[in-house]
Symmetry: C2
Amino acid sequence: MTAMRYLIIYDITDDNLRLKVAETLKDYGLSHIQYSAFLGSLRRNKLNSLIVDLRRLIGDAVENVQIYPLCDICFRRRKMIGKPKRYEVAEEHREQKAAYF
Amino acid sequence: MTAMRYLIIYDITDDNLRLKVAETLKDYGLSHIQYSAFLGSLRRNKLNSLIVDLRRLIGDAVENVQIYPLCDICFRRRKMIGKPKRYEVAEEHREQKAAYF
């Protein structure tokens, strides 16, 4: 079973829910490429499992997650303007980490 | 010259710059699908012109815009979780509009 690349973007107003969604996407091995966007490869069963997890998290809330598959041709033609930002740790952990400095 | 569909996502901390980028994307006829994402079709010359405009706006700031082409196959396989949100007017205009009610 081959993996496919996906771009996942979200618009979640609720801070707690946004953090949970970000942590879920990270748990699936996706990379945090923008404040509200993750990118990475998933096999079909993992994608389905992620969709189930996200549906459970979002429930009936007026919040929004969108998943776009990106074939190799689409992915190779992407463009970046500006500079990449870093989102290695969740907000909670960032505060914890800051205490070490 | 055929148009191609693009998903444009941005992570811009500066409020003023974010508003300018959103207005630029709207001026190019793209649809505001999430707080920090627009989607729509552009001919190649329009895409190039947009990239020039965005580069000029972003300059050397540590801000980030990413453009992903979406072929028909990728686009048809997109998934939405939760509910669509509405972003019809820019923040400034929303305030002006609110004054009419």
